[in-house]
């Protein structure tokens, strides 16, 4: 069995998901993790799929041609064995929200500060809101604090960035509870 990562993106309209998943169903592909969302006017799908008999992406043949013909871009990545498995992630879950007047470098500066501290981002969304004249940039991310990085170290770093970039940044840890 091989696993593939599939990315499909194109101008949004009703019916994209069913068009894609009908093809996958007929190919005998199983969808495992997936995330699909409207970004701007584009609908973006990212799926991890498995297929019992396929060994390379050539086995998909021209199955995705109808998607390309309807204006969608399709990209297939063959995963190395084990690449479909969620790694064991350790650390405290931290949610960081950033918002302020739009300006270049918000995502870069915040994520660089995280990367330098080996803080692993597990989820990140950004959105441009507000009016055309006064755009507001919003970023929400979740990350795992490795052992040795305390929430307050991160809060301090983010406070510095907040002043420098003139944006609001909130850091809070989330404790998942098993009930």
């Amino acid at each position: 069995m091989s696993h593939f990562a599939l990315t499909i993106i194109g101008r949004d309209r009703p019916g994209i998901v069913s068009q894609v998943t009908e093809i996958l169903y007929q190919l005998g592909c199983n969808i495992a993790d997936s995330s699909c969302s409207l970004l701007g006017g584009q609908f973006a799908m990212i799926l991890i799929v498995s297929q019992q008999e396929f060994s390379s992406k050539d086995d998909f043949g021209d199955a995705f041609t109808p998607l390309e013909e309807s204006g969608l871009s399709v990209f297939v990545r063959t995963l190395k064995p084990g690449g479909e498995q969620h790694p064991a992630l350790e650390g405290e879950i931290t949610m960081i929200s950033v918002y302020g007047a739009d300006k270049p470098g918000i995502v870069y500066r915040v994520t660089r500060a995280l990367g330098e501290r080996q803080v692993n981002i597990t989820d990140l969304n950004t959105k441009l809101v507000g009016s055309k004249e006064r755009p507001v940039y919003v970023m929400m991310l979740e990350a795992l604090l490795p052992a040795g990085v305390a929430e307050k170290d991160l809060t301090t770093a983010m406070k510095g960035l907040s002043e420098e970039l003139q944006v609001d940044i909130t850091v809070r840890t989330i404790t998942p509870v098993e009930l």
């Binding site: 969302s37 969620h86 064991a88 992630l89 350790e90 650390g91 879950i93 597990t122 989820d123 969304n125 929400m140 979740e142 795992l144 989330i174 404790t175 998942p176 509870v177 098993e178 009930l179």
Partner: protein
């Protein structure tokens, strides 16, 4: 007295509406003991509902006194038979997980304070006011009695269901 196995979704019992306990008899008491034993044995759990151990009766046990989030504000070990929430106030969001739905957690918004009426282990009518994490835990366990899992309560689609961090 026994530690019972926790049923996992998609066991249909977890989606069953449970029936009230008619009489606090020896059978009910044994069920309560099994729930307590199972909750304590699982170590990390702060509550167990009867359907989670395969019994479709309206009984849950809750004890948040050992957990970080609940240790400063709680009623200790609670046995709730035929519980009913009389009042709800406020709201708070918790990243919930459930022993019956392994590997997933989701953000659930629930009332931050509740008044709950129930019969205790001795069959006495009681009503308590619970808030904070204890209120969240009681609401989560009571949902089990109506066949509801936290997945039925996840509040928004976007990024609400995450894989649980590996323990």
């Amino acid at each position: 007295m026994a530690v019972r196995e926790i049923l996992l979704y998609p066991d249909p019992i977890l989606k069953t509406v449970c029936t009230p306990v008619a009489e606090i008899d020896r059978e009910t008491d044994a069920l309560v003991q099994d729930l307590l034993d199972t909750m304590i044995d699982s170590g990390h759990s702060v509550g167990v509902a009867a359907p989670q151990i395969g019994v479709t009766r309206r009984v849950v046990v809750v004890d948040v006194s050992k957990s970080k989030l609940g240790r400063d504000n709680n009623h200790g070990q609670l046995v709730l038979i035929n519980p009913e929430i009389l009042e709800r106030e406020g709201q708070e969001m918790t990243r919930e997980g459930c022993m019956s739905v392994p590997d997933y957690t989701g953000n659930v918004t629930r009332a931050s304070s509740i008044v709950v009426q129930f019969l205790d282990r001795q069959g006495q009518e009681r009503a308590i006011h619970a808030d904070g994490f204890e209120a969240v835990a009681i609401q989560h366990e009571l949902d089990h009695l109506d066949g509801l899992l936290f997945l039925d309560r996840v509040s928004s689609l976007k990024t609400d269901v995450f894989r649980r961090k590996t323990r």
